[in-house]
């Protein structure tokens, strides 16, 4: 047991490490393509360069990877020389970084028009009041520099008199802001500490988005799971004990067709029948009326997922049941004169469920793939949809964080499967 848990932990570490490295380096946004996606093709090189600096893309990739994994607040804290902390902004619900000067005084800095640094003191309601900062500069390499947190919550380095020009997109268009910081560190606590940073695509903190998305997906997947499991096990057992008979053939073939038809094909056919032809159910699972997720909305997506998973689980259960029914101990039970029902339920089912449980749990990855397709097909605002959009956009932070979530889900389901397996298999439990 100890060995097993130890191996699982190692497996999690290795997997998360490999996945994150792979994602980070494959989707490395420093080549600037992402800037075009954010700013549009009409943007000027100067604007792109400014954005790249604001996003911290000019930081070397290894440093950026380390920041993203374990955070950079401690690095910033050292540069700033003051304590920094994350506070909730009541109006947006997002967490923002502030310098904590003690006694409930939290500040950010902003360089005014005249090159004067002003300090922004946070009020209770999340807004701030600007005050002159006074002389906070210190000497470095013959220049007067200052590290602080700017009004966007990034660690920033100002150099007196050498303000760079920052381009900021506002409602009225692009604004040129002179005297902007020359170096930025977008503050992040790191994925391993539960903070994935700010999404490049939405410019919102990822740790705010993912929970709601994941909850939606959980509802969808959970509904499918609750639907699939009992049905599939039942059909699998029925087919398994009637091996070769008509009922087995029927169940097996339908299972096979279900699991080998791609989700989008099943989904499209279901939409065609129930939404377009019969007009019973909506073709999209988007909550337009504001009534929340209803059974009506969820029916088609759940059915689509069910079709694929049901077939798979049935086939696994059936195969295992067929094997078990041929085992010598089943023969023993029959020769002992046990009634058939008792043979099946007492002697066969428990042994037959051992093998599929682990296999089914391993299948979670295909299931996640299915969820992505189904969410996109039905426009369902879940994690799958988020993963897809992040991937297409090249939002390495959003994709990375959500991918790690799915990896954790995959590994923990596998772990649960293994644990359940050890629990129902006395040969492992008692050795």
């Amino acid at each position: 047991m100890v060995r097993f848990l130890f191996q699982s932990v190692i497996s999690v570490v290795v997997t998360v490490f490999l996945v994150s490295i792979l994602l980070f380096f494959m989707l490395d946004p420093s080549d600037g393509e992402i800037l075009v996606k954010i700013l549009g093709i009409e943007s000027t090189p100067a604007q792109r360069e400014s954005l790249a600096r604001q996003l911290g893309l000019e930081i070397p990739v290894l440093q950026r990877y380390a920041d993203w994994m374990i955070g950079n607040d401690f690095r910033a804290r050292r540069l700033i020389g003051q304590d920094i902390t994350q506070l909730n902004n009541p109006s947006s619900g997002d967490l923002e970084w502030w310098i904590d000067q003690g006694e409930g005084r939290y500040v950010q800095y902003q360089l005014g028009e005249g090159g004067e640094l002003s300090v922004l003191v946070r009020n209770e309601d999340g807004t701030y009041t600007a005050e002159p900062a006074g002389d906070v500069w210190w000497e470095e390499d013959g220049k007067e520099v200052f590290w602080g947190i700017d009004d966007e919550g990034r660690a920033a380095k100002w150099i007196k008199g050498e303000g760079a020009i920052a381009y900021v997109s506002t409602q009225t268009g692009w604004q040129e802001i002179p005297g902007a910081p020359v170096q930025y560190i977008p503050l992040v606590k790191g994925v391993l500490r539960g903070d994935g940073g700010v999404s490049l695509r939405t410019n919102r903190p990822i740790s705010n988005t993912i929970p709601t998305r994941a909850a939606n997906t959980f509802i969808l997947a959970g509904a499918a799971f609750i639907f699939v499991m009992p049905l599939a096990l039942l059909f699998g057992i029925i087919a398994g004990i009637n091996e070769g008979k008509l009922i087995d053939r029927t169940i097996s073939i339908f299972g096979l067709i279900g699991t080998s038809t791609p989700e989008f094909v099943t989904g499209l056919i279901l939409i065609f029948i129930f939404a377009i032809q019969l007009r019973w159910l909506p073709a999209l699972a988007i909550d337009t009326a504001g009534g929340g997720l209803t059974v009506r909305l969820l029916t088609l997506p759940v059915l689509t997922l069910t079709a694929v998973e049901l077939g798979y689980v049935i086939r696994m259960t059936r195969a295992s049941m067929v094997d078990v029914m041929k085992a010598p101990y089943i023969r023993t039970a029959i020769i002992k004169g046990m009634p058939f029902r008792r043979v099946v339920f007492r002697h066969a089912v428990r042994n037959a469920l051992m093998a599929p449980i682990t296999i089914i749990m391993l299948h979670i990855n295909y299931f996640i793939g299915g969820i992505v397709v189904v969410e996109i097909l039905f426009g369902y605002p879940g994690l799958g949809d988020y993963i897809y959009k992040s991937a297409i956009f090249g939002d390495v932070y959003g994709l990375g964080a959500s991918a790690i979530v799915t990896v954790l889900v995959a590994i923990s389901t596998r772990l649960i499967g293994d644990l359940v397996y050890t629990f129902i298999n006395p040969r492992i439990r008692y050795s």
Partner: protein, 708 residues
């Protein structure tokens, strides 16, 4: 009860039963015209080689032939009631209640995920409607009845938590719970070690008397059948060719097949010279291609034209034996002359005095055991070792045969693997001398000289896995020649053919694939492959234990012949003491990694014995009911090799320990000394020489049959 059978009706009566399996193209008659009956309290043996339909008959009785098998004709009557075509519900009631069954592999027969108690209890709760607690009491009673230690605890365990011998006891106890009228046992001891087997056989004989149960005992082992059965039926190719009381069958076999079978088995009872083996020529016909006349006709030494034309009927002989042979009266087994080609040339020289080719000194092999605590995983815990081989030392003279015997787990295979290099020795020296070159054999395979690799070759146990299914016979025998360059490439084919002929296989085998060969043929090819690099030493790992007796005899004879012809030295592992005796010049007896006794073969089987050898000899089933064996049974299980007993490793089970002057204290603490006897015979025991010499011989031929 000594009641005359004339007044009694058989518990089971089979009349002219034919069993057929439907296959893809047509039907296969697995069993034809089998008739026999079993009376109350009788144990009826069914012997025969694999594939002769023994088990099929058993499955037919409980009507469990699978989806494609059925009883084509004939009747199976259980206590006068016809079982064929009985309804499922009626059969279900009989099964487990009146008819019970015990199978070959107890581990497979028990449900791995249910506690033993639950599996036993349901026989009572389902059939008799007993309450759980009552049923549990009865299960405990029955377990203690089959001498299961600590039965209250055992019923709470799972099958994998008890040993194979104990599992078989549980299965037997489960079968007896409802006091069945008929107990079918299908090779119940085949998977067990010989000492465990002996104990289970004792138990079976005892239970038969106590419960008055009719037993149908299926086995391929003539020795086992001789020990437990009162009546024996011999099956061959789906037919029962002879049926007789056990004593008559072994003393005066009527059917040529029975005679042939008995000539194939080495016997411990007689002296070594009389244990010459004579294999039966040809092979068992497959069920879909059986001869139209006598099924045994093509292999029979006495076959005449009538045998090939006309199928013999079962005939009753004057002494009550029934035989399926046209000429049973005319055949006199005593007048049988062995065919010329089987007769072995006697050894021309005494090889036991040759200079040693292999010298093993204090060879040790320990394995690390993977611990399961966190400490062990991180490599911090104390490393525990399985001491698979401990201080083995012996010499093998050139051209001789050393037999290594012992029960499973005694380290005999590990020893051989270490010698050939599949495992690295932990300590010790092993030297191999050839052409004035000496090699150290304790190095790993990759560190070995190519010449040494070539000189040591191996013959394996399992005929089905000894050959790579993807290559032809010729390719596989040719490969060592190619690799070691012993034969120029253009002569490989002719050399392979020459070897094939030496194995009594023709050139037409060259292009055959393994799946086209029988078990015996595969084993011959395996031997040919081992010989292809012209090695000096061939190690044989139980080369015949997976084969039927008639094939086994042929392979053993072949090995001897090869040794005479090529002068090869053989190291021969076996668990069967009678085979080793027949085959070896020297014998080493191993127990729990330790060599317990070493010496010339004849000396091992005579006084003085090591107490363990004595127990082994007493347990060997001998296919001759007229031989009596001293009854010595070992108690308990073989201890774990991770923490072997201190002092003498055998002391925990030694039946002779109490003969020690101090009652055996010394055995627990000190390693025993080697006691030397004649001709290099050594015994690893604390008992003084005089005590060892004062034992009675284990095996004695009874002067006359004891009263029944």
């Amino acid at each position: 009860m000594n009641m005359d059978k004339k007044f009694e009706q058989p518990v089971l009566k089979l009349e002219d039963v034919a069993i057929t399996y439907k296959v893809r193209n047509g039907e296969i008659d697995a069993v034809q015209n089998v008739s026999f009956e079993i009376f109350k309290g009788e144990s009826h043996g069914i012997v025969g080689e694999s594939g002769c339909g023994k088990s099929t008959v058993a499955w037919a009785i409980v009507n469990f032939l699978g989806a494609n098998g059925y009883v084509k004709s004939g009747s199976i009557k259980f206590q006068g009631q016809e079982l064929v075509n009985k309804s499922d519900e009626e059969l279900r009631r009989l099964r487990g209640d009146q008819i019970a069954m015990v199978y070959q592999d107890p581990m497979q027969a028990l449900n791995p995920s249910l506690r033993l108690g639950d599996q036993m209890k349901e026989v009572l709760t389902v059939h008799r409607g007993m309450s759980e607690s009552e049923a549990e009491d009865r299960c405990v009673d029955m377990l203690s009845r089959v001498y299961m230690p600590d039965p209250e605890n055992v019923i709470k365990r799972f099958p994998h938590q008890i040993s194979g011998g104990q599992q078989q006891r549980v299965v037997i106890a489960m079968a007896l719970l409802n006091n069945p009228a008929l107990l079918i046992m299908d090779e119940p001891t085949t998977a067990l070690d010989v000492t465990v087997e002996a104990a289970v056989l004792d138990l079976i004989a005892e239970l038969r008397r106590d419960f008055d149960t009719a037993i149908m005992y299926i086995s391929h082992n003539l020795g086992v059948v001789a020990r437990v059965c009162t009546q024996v039926g011999v099956m061959y190719a789906g037919e029962m060719v002879e049926r007789a009381p056990v004593r008559d069958l072994y003393a005066d076999p009527k059917h040529p097949y029975t005679q042939g079978l008995l000539r194939c088995v080495p016997k411990l009872g007689g002296d070594k010279a009389s244990s010459q083996l004579y294999p039966i020529r040809g092979r068992v016909p497959p069920p879909n291609n059986r001869p139209s006349g006598c099924v045994y006709g093509p292999r029979c030494d006495y076959a005449r034209q009538r045998c090939l034309d006309e199928r013999p009927e079962v005939r009753q002989m004057p002494d009550g034996t029934s035989v399926r042979c046209h000429f049973a009266e005319e055949i006199d087994p005593a007048a049988w002359i062995p065919p010329e080609d089987i007769k072995l040339t006697p050894a021309t020289e005494d090889v036991t005095k040759n200079e040693p080719i292999l010298i093993i000194k204090d060879l040790k092999k320990y394995y690390d055991v993977a611990g399961s605590s966190l400490k062990d995983i991180l490599g911090l815990g104390e490393k525990r070792k399985v001491k698979a081989v401990e201080n083995a030392s012996f010499e093998v003279p050139r051209g001789s045969t050393l037999g290594i015997v012992g029960e499973s787990g005694c380290g005999k295979s590990t020893l051989v693997k270490t010698i050939i290099g599949l495992e690295n020795a932990t300590a010790g020296q092993a030297e191999f001398n050839v052409e004035d070159v000496t090699f150290d054999v304790t190095s790993s395979l990759s560190g070995r000289d190519k010449k040494l690799i070539q000189e040591l070759q191996m013959v394996f146990q399992n005929p089905d896995s000894t050959m790579n299914p993807s290559y032809t016979v010729g390719q596989q025998i040719g490969r060592p020649m190619e690799r070691f360059g012993t034969v120029p490439p253009d002569q490989i084919r002719s050399e392979v053919v020459r070897l094939l002929e030496a194995m009594r296989l023709g050139e037409n085998y060259f292009d055959r694939l393994p799946r086209q060969l029988s078990g015996g043929e595969k084993q011959r090819v395996g031997i040919a492959r081992a010989l292809a690099s012209r090695p000096e030493l061939v190690l044989c790992d139980e080369p015949v234990s997976a084969l039927d007796v008639s094939v086994q005899a042929a392979i053993l004879n072949l090995l001897i012949e090869i040794q005479r012809e090529f002068g090869t030295t053989l190291l021969f592992i076996a668990h069967d003491l009678s085979v080793v005796r027949f085959f070896s010049d020297f014998v080493a007896v191993m127990y729990l990694g330790q060599v317990m006794e070493f010496g010339p073969a004849e000396e091992i089987y005579q006084l003085p014995y090591h107490p363990y050898t004595e127990a082994l000899l007493s347990a060997v089933p001998i296919p001759d009911p007229s031989v009596t064996q001293k009854r010595i049974r070992l108690e308990g299980n073989v201890p774990s090799a991770i923490s072997p007993p201190s002092g003498c490793r055998f002391h925990t089970r030694c039946p002779r320990r109490k003969l020690m002057p101090d009652g055996g204290k010394k055995c627990e603490t000190e390693l025993p000394p080697w006691r030397e006897f004649n001709n290099g015979h050594r015994i690893f025991c604390h008992l003084p020489k005089e005590t060892l010499e004062s034992f009675d011989p284990v095996i004695s031929k009874a002067a006359e049959p004891a009263a029944d």
